[in-house]
């Protein structure tokens, strides 16, 4: 009975959604090794249709890549007694450590405000800053500053026109992950749009993990901090002693 129902649902799904995304990625995990210097991920796919393409505006594609979110403090420097010090501060509940939006065209031409709000597509809609208006005057300035600082660091990117769409069927986009990546699950979302409305979407995950020596060092520092601290000392002592011994040998 349940199996039959599941089968029915499977059959029913394509009928309700006329256009469906079939997507793939060049890799679904990124390893941060000692020589990690950023990574490029190819996100590609096709639009599957059971019927001819529907009437209406042209098909558009948006791809977002979102790093793990954390609460952050945004601080503003002010001149106090002649020197510049962190003065006012605002806490933002949740801001992604990395966010890239790649599109087939200018965002305000292909996406309506309502669907942007509903699906949380641009980074402004992903950042959660509830109740910050009470924390400081001009709290909006702090959120703008957060966007500006992270954009300058290469953490937030808007790549308009960087999704290639061929024959309204095949699409591809390259997203560059920077070298200062944070570990965690990176959420990849793909949206198909017509007439500024989302008609289909899909989600994938890229796992970003430190590997090898990086993994070992990082884990040790978090799980056995005392052992880690002592090991750092032993290494320092060995290096200090070794170098002076080596140089004495050379001198003799």
């Amino acid at each position: 009975m349940i199996r039959a129902l599941a089968l029915l649902m499977l059959l029913a799904l394509p009928a309700t959604a006329q256009e469906v995304i079939v997507a793939g990625m060049s890799q679904n995990r990124v390893s941060i090794t000692a020589d990690f210097d950023g990574s490029e991920i190819l996100i590609y796919g096709a639009v599957k249709r059971d019927a001819p393409a529907p009437e209406g505006g042209p098909l558009e594609v948006i791809v977002t890549v979102e790093g793990p979110s954390t609460p952050v403090a945004v601080r503003r420097k002010d001149r106090v007694a002649g020197i510049w010090v962190n003065n006012a501060s605002v806490r933002v509940d949740s801001a992604p450590s990395f966010y890239a939006v790649a599109t087939t065209g200018p965002l305000d031409h292909i996406l309506s405000d309502i669907d942007n709000l509903r699906y949380g597509i641009t980074v402004e809609r992903v950042i959660r800053a509830i109740g910050i208006a009470e924390e400081a005057d001009q709290a909006g300035e702090f959120v703008l500053a957060l966007l500006r600082v992270r954009t300058n660091e290469g953490r937030y990117r808007v790549l308009e026109g960087k999704v290639e769409l061929t024959e309204e069927t095949l699409f591809r986009s390259d997203v560059v992950l920077p070298a200062n990546l944070t570990e965690g699950e990176y959420k990849v979302r793909l949206f198909l749009l017509r007439d500024k409305r989302v008609i289909a979407s899909q989600e994938r995950v890229i796992g970003v993990r430190k590997e090898g020596l990086e993994r070992f060092v990082f884990n040790l520092s978090r799980e056995q901090p005392l052992v880690y601290g002592l090991l750092s000392l032993v290494l320092a002592a060995l290096a200090g002693w070794g170098a002076s011994a080596a140089f004495r040998l050379i001198r003799v």
Partner: protein
């Protein structure tokens, strides 16, 4: 060659770090200082987070001090009794410093706190050293030579209780002043990521009246243990010691230090002191400028605990 630092979570050029360690090592070998006061600000400039720079700087000082103390041990330049008293104070001061460091990080004022400490202490010590060495340089030029300095000047220091005999230094003084000096240096070590030799050495000579031949060795002895304690305390408390970064700095540093020592012996003591004081003043002014000039970006973003 790019290298991803596991704790700092930034990708840096490995040769840049090796070179940095080498240059600082060269200077520290030439002037006989630990070099922590140069390493930590330089790490700020290349984008290592301040908390990581301070903790890793302390780790680097351990290595350079061990390398230095071995040479001093061979020429019997370490007063273990005095080192022990300084160390006792140092551990207390360092623990206090790590605690304050944690509070300042939570308040978002750690950068300012570290920068102000650098400007004030480097500025003061640099100015004092510059004035002192300029005076002795001028005096050396004049005929008649240097005035005679008395070995033992009795002051209020000698009236304090808990007196102890320090055989290697030839002193019989209270343990309170050295313990306090040790504590002050330990505190600075924890918040500035330095060994504190630039404060310890003048304090030992001018405040405690120790003979010069045991000053360097004893200060290195104390610095090894205090910076070791600081390293472990930061590793446990804030997990900010980056082993890989430290190792690169140390490798570059020890090679540079050996070369620097050779250049150092060719220069006159007064010239060395003037150069060192100018270097200290330059670092202090460079950091002061950052505080005084309006920054191009007034806002900063930092991760906080949920």
């Amino acid at each position: 060659m790019q290298l991803y630092l596991p704790i700092a979570e930034v990708s840096v050029n490995a040769f840049l770090i090796l070179g940095l360690g080498g240059i600082v090592g060269f200077l520290s070998g030439m002037f006989g200082v630990g070099g922590g006061f140069l390493i930590t600000p330089l790490l700020f400039f290349i984008g290592v987070p301040p908390a990581v720079a301070v903790a890793t700087g302390a780790n680097q000082v351990v290595a350079s001090s061990i390398s230095g103390v071995l040479a001093q041990l061979r020429r019997k330049g370490v007063d273990f009794a005095m080192g022990g008293v300084l160390l006792g104070g140092g551990v207390v001061g360092s623990a206090l410093g790590v605690w304050v460091f944690g509070i300042m990080t939570r308040l978002g004022q750690i950068d300012l706190f570290v920068q102000l400490s650098y400007v004030i202490f480097l500025g003061l010590i640099g100015a004092m050293m510059f004035q002192e060495s300029l005076r002795s340089l001028l005096r050396a030029r004049k005929p008649g030579g240097a005035p005679i300095r008395r070995a033992h000047v009795h002051s209020w220091v000698h009236g304090l209780p808990f007196k102890m005999k320090f055989r290697a230094s030839g002193l019989y003084i209270s343990v309170i002043p050295p313990a306090l000096i040790g504590a002050a240096v330990g505190f600075l070590s924890a918040i500035m990521g330095v060994g504190g030799g630039f404060i310890l050495v003048p304090a030992m000579i001018y405040l405690l009246g120790m003979p010069t031949k045991v000053v360097i060795g004893t200060s290195l002895f104390q610095i090894i243990f205090v910076t070791s304690f600081t390293t472990v305390a930061h590793a446990v408390n804030s997990q900010t010691v980056d082993m890989m970064l430290a190792l690169l700095l140390i490798l570059g540093g020890v090679v540079g230090a050996q070369l620097g020592t050779r250049v150092g012996v060719r220069l006159k003591a007064e010239q060395l002191r003037i150069l060192l004081s100018l270097l200290v003043l330059t670092v202090s002014i460079r950091i002061a400028v950052d505080l005084l000039v309006r920054p191009s970006e007034l806002y900063s973003v930092a991760g906080v605990l949920p």
